[in-house]
């Protein structure tokens, strides 16, 4: 008997998830922090690789966990292959799949973009050395997300992988940069830049007004923030304007690219109320942005444990036959824990049903269990093996 997801949910929903693992070109995982988004991305990627696909999993999670789990170091300059053999997940010969993992360094990617877009090497250096630029890649909201999507775009265009799985940053703003009135685009607003463009010296009818506004800005900046900051800002806006123009066009193209049918947005949640609220928020967001939402994954869910039996029904008894007093009281306490777990199962099944309704026609909701870790040879936990188990559950091949 297999112990996949089918008992936990409508078998049709488990199959819809498997179809994504088999066929999708791009999977974008969104959700709140702490719901196991990175783990789920890793497991989905592993599952696809075990079916013989060439898979890349991209993350910009500031935690180095996924990278460590998958056995790759932090922020390597390019994707690193993951050893699949010991999981018993790798296919053989021509059908062999592969899994690469890459943890993006947003700074690295932004620098690359600057070099690509700004052709003049002096200008490139001026920008890369600019103190404001140096902080922009870590401070401007949306920059991380943008760089991740850009990397995603590039890998898909290059056609090196059958499937790219993107683990988005744990922020409800993960998709904001795709919106027109978002912060990144406000940042792109030409009006701000023009104030800093040295060439613009009021030839138009509004020139005087502009100069006056510019004068105020410069007075405030010089007086309040100091002349260094002010001059840094001028250099920054001057050189970065061109880069941002390109980024702005990219974002438009990316939105089109992300709304293609071969893309799947999966929303990951745990049963916690706050996490669910985020998942529903993301669903609204995907609708609003017309992105292909496919379904919900309810992580750490007891709904996946529905087939478990109560201790007495499972015939729990001591090997010696007679129940010692400690065994009897122990079993009693276990019984109480079992009753509490049963309640959680009921709660999570109801939750899963609610999510399924929210997912609507064609959408799905699948429950995934809490990861269980087997001790590794070195005394730590075998996190890769746990991911492998989760991948097998997704595929319905766990024993």
């Amino acid at each position: 008997m297999t112990k996949g997801l089918d008992q936990a949910v409508d078998a049709g929903d488990a199959e819809k998830l498997r179809a994504i693992v088999r066929e999708a070109r791009i999977v974008v995982c969104c959700g709140a922090g702490g719901v196991g988004k990175t783990t789920t991305s890793g497991a989905l990627a592993l599952a696809a690789a075990s079916l013989g696909r060439k898979v890349l999993v991209l993350t910009i999670d500031p935690s180095k966990r996924l990278a460590e789990t998958l056995g790759v170091s932090r922020n390597p300059p390019k994707p690193v292959p993951v050893e699949l053999e010991r999981l018993g997940l790798a296919g053989r010969g021509a059908s062999a799949g592969s899994l690469d993992a890459w943890m993006l360094d947003p700074k690295l990617i932004a620098d690359e973009a600057v070099r690509r877009i700004v052709r003049n090497p002096t200008e490139v250096e001026k920008l890369l050395q600019n103190r404001i630029y140096q902080s922009v890649t870590t401070m401007v909201a949306g920059m991380h997300e943008y760089t991740a999507m850009q990397a995603l775009h590039r890998f898909v265009e290059e056609n090196r992988y059958d499937l790219v799985v993107l683990d988005t940053p744990p922020s409800r703003h993960a998709l904001d940069f795709l919106e027109a009135p978002g912060r990144l685009s406000r940042f792109l607003d030409g009006r701000v830049f023009r104030m800093f463009m040295p060439s613009e010296q009021g030839s138009s009818a509004f020139g005087g007004l502009k100069r006056a506004a510019g004068g105020l800005v410069h007075r405030v900046l010089n007086g309040v923030l100091g002349p260094e900051f002010s001059s840094d800002l001028t250099v920054f806006f001057g050189v970065f304007a061109g880069v941002l123009g390109t980024i702005s066009r990219d974002v438009t193209g990316m939105r089109e690219f992300l709304s293609r049918p071969e893309v799947s947005f999966l929303l990951i949640s745990s049963p916690a109320a706050a996490a669910l609220e985020e998942a529903l928020f993301f669903q609204d967001k995907t609708r609003e942005l017309k992105l292909p939402f496919r379904g919900f994954l309810l992580n750490r869910s007891h709904a996946a444990d529905a087939e478990r039996a109560f201790p007495d029904a499972a015939g729990l008894s001591p090997s010696g036959g007679e129940l010692s007093p400690a065994a009897r009281s122990g079993l009693e306490k276990l019984g109480r824990l079992a009753a509490a777990e049963r309640e959680l199962i009921t709660r999570d099944q109801k939750l899963l049903g609610d999510l399924k309704r929210r997912a609507g026609e064609g959408g799905f909701a699948v429950a995934l269990p809490t990861l269980s870790f087997a001790p590794a040879a070195d005394g730590g936990r075998d996190e890769l093996a746990a991911l492998g188990m989760l991948a097998k559950r997704i595929l319905g091949t766990a024993h």
Binding site: V35, R65, S324, R342
Partner: protein, 327 residues
């Protein structure tokens, strides 16, 4: 006692990954401190877009206002923390850290006249610049915080004796703690630079400031906490300790545990899982992970027990636990 050490600070940053109960712990610390007679201010950063969705400065159309709420504010019966300091309950006030409010404050301190500062901020050009330019948002947040730290009553006592900051769930916590240095590096001279230095002096003084990391006695949260502590070290921020939330009470005696484990192992041959086993094993994990944390960290560990079912208010329960010492 460990909580007394927290009570002696002026500013406490509470951080930790999503799902560990950071906001409940923040509210509990506020309640416990208020009961201990402190004037407490709870704060959090305004939403990532730069300000709350209904700010007086904010004339941008919003389409993301749905589901907008703060878990911390909800524990005080509100959807969001107020934009200007307001009492949330006796002894506890709350305020968002609004970048634009910070900008107004620092412009006021420079121009000396609030009306000029307001006028400057209502200049389209300057307002747009402040919203868009990198690091100005952070400077604004930082200045807000500094103003709260320095505010005094007429009698000379601090208006906000203890300021709690519920830090964002993501890696941005690290970004903020490293912020003063980054900003000072950028804004080398001028009144803001001086203010930033002053703020940094507060934040890096172990007598006045402490960062606490909230976590759970589980494998991944403990690993992430160790990683976060490592990162915090390089930021020069004094680390107050780790707050271990939801520590379960193991009801089994050692003998019962042995018997039950034996029976469960024997039942495993039958492949179907047994209800109750996951919870049973969780006690082991919690114990193992607590020990790992104790072994690896060099800062105090505060434990907050799992609330028993039907205990009423979680926040009051946690506040009791904090004041009662480590149970």
């Amino acid at each position: 006692m460990q909580f007394d050490s927290l009570l002696g600070k002026r500013i406490v940053l509470i951080t930790g990954k999503g799902g560990v109960g950071r906001s409940s712990v923040t509210a509990a610390i506020a309640q416990a401190a208020a009961r201990a007679g402190k004037r407490v201010l709870v704060t959090e950063m305004a939403d990532g877009a730069g300000q709350s969705k209904h700010s007086e400065y904010d004339d941008e159309p919003h389409n993301a206002a749905i589901h907008e709420y703060s878990p911390l504010a909800r524990l005080f019966g509100r959807e969001r923390l107020p934009e200007r300091k307001e009492e949330l309950m006796p002894g506890i006030s709350g305020s968002l850290l609004l970048p634009l409010y910070g900008h107004e404050l620092f412009l006021t301190s420079v121009f000396r006249v609030a009306a000029i500062a307001k006028a400057a901020l209502h200049s389209e050009a300057l307002r747009r610049l402040f919203q868009a330019a990198p690091s100005l948002r952070e400077i604004g947040i930082f200045y807000c915080l500094l103003t709260f730290l320095q505010a005094k009553h007429a009698d000379g006592g601090f208006e906000n004796e203890l300021i709690l900051v519920d830090m964002p769930a993501t890696g941005h916590a690290l970004a903020l703690t490293g912020l003063p240095r980054t900003l000072i590096n950028m804004v080398a001279r001028g009144p803001i630079a001086d203010a930033l230095r002053e703020g940094q002096a507060y934040l890096t003084d172990p007598a006045q400031s402490a960062t606490y990391v909230v976590t759970l006695p589980e494998a991944l949260p403990v690993s992430e906490t160790l990683e976060l502590l490592e990162g915090l070290k390089s930021s020069n921020m004094p680390i107050g300790g780790v707050i271990l939330n939801h520590v379960p009470r193991d009801p089994f005696t050692a003998e019962e545990r042995r018997e039950v484990a034996g029976m469960l192992d024997a039942a495993h041959a039958k492949e179907k899982g047994v209800l109750g086993e996951q919870s049973f094993r969780y006690f082991d994990e919690a114990k193992r992970e607590t020990e790992r944390l104790e072994r690896e960290i060099k800062v105090p560990l505060l434990r907050l027990p799992d609330a028993p079912p039907g205990c009423g208010s979680l926040v009051s329960f946690l506040a009791d636990s904090l004041l009662g010492g480590s149970p």
